[in-house]
Symmetry: C2
Subunit: 78 residues, 2 copies
């Protein structure tokens, strides 16, 4: 079972990497970019018997730093 | 317009960061994890007049390293 976890910085947390990308896009001549935020994408290949609660547990314990980050779990069709 | 870009390593490209996460999950006692790959998630806030071709151009020129990475553009409802 393929599962994607999106880890994003919470609103209000500074994102220097996103700012750098934003600046680079402007330098390259791309207009119309208002904001850029960089997060992490973690793709898990899990056994079918892994429950949603376990996946959430993985996120809370390891994949995301809950102080500054949010996560979102997206399960793909098997 | 919110747009998400998923940047993932191409198949066959070694992913030590993913391996480290996989190992850490096992150490924490999570079973049933077959594979982990780590990618990047870039959230763009764009003007409405930015075309799909321009977003693809941003990916090819800056956001993804086309030699080792693939990208996927996901537009969110305005």
């Amino acid at each position: 079972m393929k599962t994607r976890v999106h880890v994003t910085l919470k609103n209000g947390v500074l994102d220097p990497q996103g700012k750098a990308i934003h600046h680079a896009l402007e330098t390259l001549g791309f207009d119309g970019v208002n904001d850029v935020r960089q997060g992490k994408l973690i793709e898990l290949d899990l056994d079918e018997n892994v429950t949603d609660a376990e996946i959430e547990d993985m996120c809370r314990k390891l994949l995301a730093n809950m102080v500054i980050e949010d996560f979102e779990i997206e399960k793909e069709a098997a």
